[in-house]
Symmetry: C3
């Protein structure tokens, strides 16, 4: 893509200082940018790069005053970072794939909406419904009776099993699995486990993103539910009958065990574990690698540790964990002096 | 599926109180159930739902006495939960897929048993053997010389690499990988690593379940062995030459490093890590997120922590970890008083 | 494969004691070896197996003196373990697959080098370039404009997305994902998240190995870079704009968050987590399950804990963590005696 700076500044509602005819054909970080690229400066600690960058143009705050002469053309905007994300969106190539590649497998009574793409080697099971503009990349598996809302993108190797429901504008990244069996067994007297059939499904509401190789198990009965706007990173495990509230965001490699309900607008770090059958209130934040072993009922609480508790308290404790050798030493000294003093008292000593 | 309550009660060896002709067509949790569904009440803490549920019928303990009038028809059984799992099994749709979908790739000298299903875009390598009733979903990869026991189900996107052996009635969930190379390298003087060829295989005995996106590496020599009845959840890593004893169950995102042997009937929580070359005794339980750094030789031991030790001890220590600020404060006070007292003694003070 | 011991000894530069005509047709661990196999003895603690093994031949140190008579033929070499790895290499079956299986999908303007293999149901996007000897197993997805260096092997189900660059002699294991979108969003005032387009790519230099179900996200801009000789185990998460220095090795289930730079020759245990925007110096070692929350600037440092610090210090603290009940008890006793003494002083008691 190519765009003149004039045109770009107009789209960003920005004010241009310099050559209006300059052509931009790419985006780059300020320290890596070359001629023809546009970059941005939002965080003052990167200001030095502004004086050495090869970028043709740089987005800056509307009130920014450079300390030195600058070579790139400045585009002044209200919010440089947000404006730059808009630029990224302009430069992001739209997915133009449309049509049904051959060979692919489309079962009976499948509905394919308008402008759908189904890549080669993909499999669409009987009675499934793909809304308008759905993009199914190659080698995807869609089971029977699956519903996929309009404009959703499913990347190569993702698996959506029978009866699952995917909302509109969702993005399912490669090799994600949605609707695998929940992990449920009844232990028998001879120690073997009998499988509990998993008859429910998974429901993703609109605007959900599911990372690569993430797994979301179907409910035993009813639905595992991922609410509107939830963003899941890669390699996450969501167990059966979990519910995740809208606009909650979860970093990579976190696991949520069965039947736990997570509130709205929560933020979970990477490698967090949450045991089953808990309730996590709205707006809770959980630090990376924490293990949550009981419900969190206070909205907005921030926790850390395994098991997790209030993050400020955790941090104080952890600082002292590091001081344990010093503390232990003091206690040993105090104890030995105490013993000595007690023995002096006993023998009619100094007292 | 539809079934009369009379018929259902007969199958469950239960006693029916109410309309024998009622028709059941689905199963549901008691708090979510609607007309036409059957549910169960096993845990007394959910009893309140019995008085508000829309379920047509509810399985209850044979001696249960309601505190209020109940609307649903009661089916009295010896073990409501186990009986309900039987109901789930009745309602679970059997996999009726049979035959070879086109296109798929079947190599030379492949044996396909009776009533086998091979889904479209699946690949069966040369000399592989599929027992009777094996179900291979679409887009599965089976390497060369693989043996798959009768009635095993392999879901879409699973990969079974050369020479692996899968038992009977196993279930391999989507995108699981069995037989990838073990992670073995010889460091060289110039810091680069030379790969150690991984010539062994993976053996799954009968009735093993492998979760979605779980990986089981082939042995360097010999076999990585998963014994009869083992259940592995999603996103688990089993390294080369590991052996897992029968009826052991492992929760999601746990990793077991190379050559470790785990006993029978063990239970590992989620996100557990076990280092290589250890022995874990039978019936051991390991709490979620624990890290096991040395062998556990006492059968039935329960451990927690990273590194893990006796869970009761761990919990005591962790309670005190949370009290470190209070403890540190006391030690500081004691130390300062001690210093004061010592200095008084030195100067011929109070003594 | 079959080889005479004479021939084998010659290749290993070893000295043979015994029947030069013996035929070797397999390799095995010394305790599992049968007739016709060769094994090795490197670690003296396994010496007892030498006197009971069924192996036809055993590699031993050139100066080794058995304590008892030995049945197998000894092959004396300078480094038994390294020599055995050479034997494994001899016995490792080379991948002889060549040619284009049908059906597969090859886009327009794709370059296929000499002796390339493309397995059935694989998809090669437009403008991609496969060097000589590249082996693409069945059901692989290669996006558009991807470059794959010569002799690289990509196993079944791996996904390499648009514009990524893979070096020479790399090995990508099944279901690995390279080039999925980085996890980047801008929070909006109404709590929903706007996706930040991810326009960069992933670059793997030569001799990189990527484990099964591992995910490497593309950069927002620029490249996520995995340097020469890096070895990644299974189920690892590498976020956008990460850079991993050459010959660094990372064990399974570890996660590295966005924009973090890891040095050369580092060694990360399993289930490690590293937060974003850090710098990890060369030759650093990080113990399994550790969480790294700040940059490590000292080359060669070894750390443990969550958050991680110097491993020796961590271990001292953890030993004392286990002694917290004892320590707490002592502090309680000291405090109560102190209180008693103070009250005695106050009341004109013992003083």
């Amino acid at each position: 893509m190519k765009i003149t700076l004039t045109e770009l500044a107009r789209k960003l509602n920005g004010r241009l200082e310099g050559n209006q005819d300059a052509i931009i054909h790419t985006v780059a970080k300020i320290e890596e940018a070359g001629p023809g690229s546009i970059s941005f400066l939002a965080n003052p600690k990167y200001e030095e790069h502004l004086y050495t960058t090869q970028a043709t143009a740089v987005l800056v705050d509307k009130n920014f005053t450079p300390r030195q002469p600058v070579a790139p053309i400045l585009v002044r905007v209200a919010h440089p970072y947000e404006a730059f994300v808009e630029v990224l969106r302009l430069f992001a190539p739209p997915i133009q794939r449309v049509g049904i590649e051959s060979p692919c497998f489309v079962g009976k009574c499948v509905h394919l909406g308008k402008n759908v793409y189904v890549g080669a080697f993909s499999y669409i099971g009987d009675y499934s419904h793909l809304g308008d503009g759905v993009k199914i990349f190659p080698q995807v598996f869609i089971g029977e009776n699956v519903t996929i809302g309009e404009a959703t993108i499913i990347y190569s190797g993702a698996r959506i099993l029978d009866n699952c429901v995917i909302g509109r504008r969702c993005i399912i990244h490669p090799n994600a699995v949605i609707g695998s069996d929940g992990f449920g067994f009844v232990p028998q007297k001879d120690a073997h486990y009998e499988k509990i059939p998993q008859l429910g499904n998974v429901v993703l509401e609109d605007d959900v993103e599911v990372g690569a190789n993430t797994t979301i198990d179907r409910a035993t009965m009813g639905s595992t539910i991922i609410r509107r706007g939830v963003k899941l990173d890669n390699l996450i495990q969501i167990a059966h009958n979990v519910e995740i509230g809208e606009h909650t965001v979860i970093a990579a490699q976190t696991g949520v065990a069965g039947s736990t309900k997570i509130g709205k607008r929560c933020s979970l770090g990477g490698q967090v574990g949450i045991i089953g059958h808990l309730n996590i209130a709205d707006d809770v934040k959980i630090a990376a690698q924490s293990g949550v072993g009981k419900s969190i009922t206070t909205p907005g609480q921030i926790v850390q540790g395994s098991p997790a508790f209030c993050i400020n308290q955790y941090r104080k404790c952890y600082v002292l964990f590091k001081k344990l050798p010093e503390m232990y030493q003091k206690v040993q000294v105090l104890s030995s002096q105490q013993i000595k003093r007690n023995s002096e008292v006993d023998t009619g000593g100094a007292g």
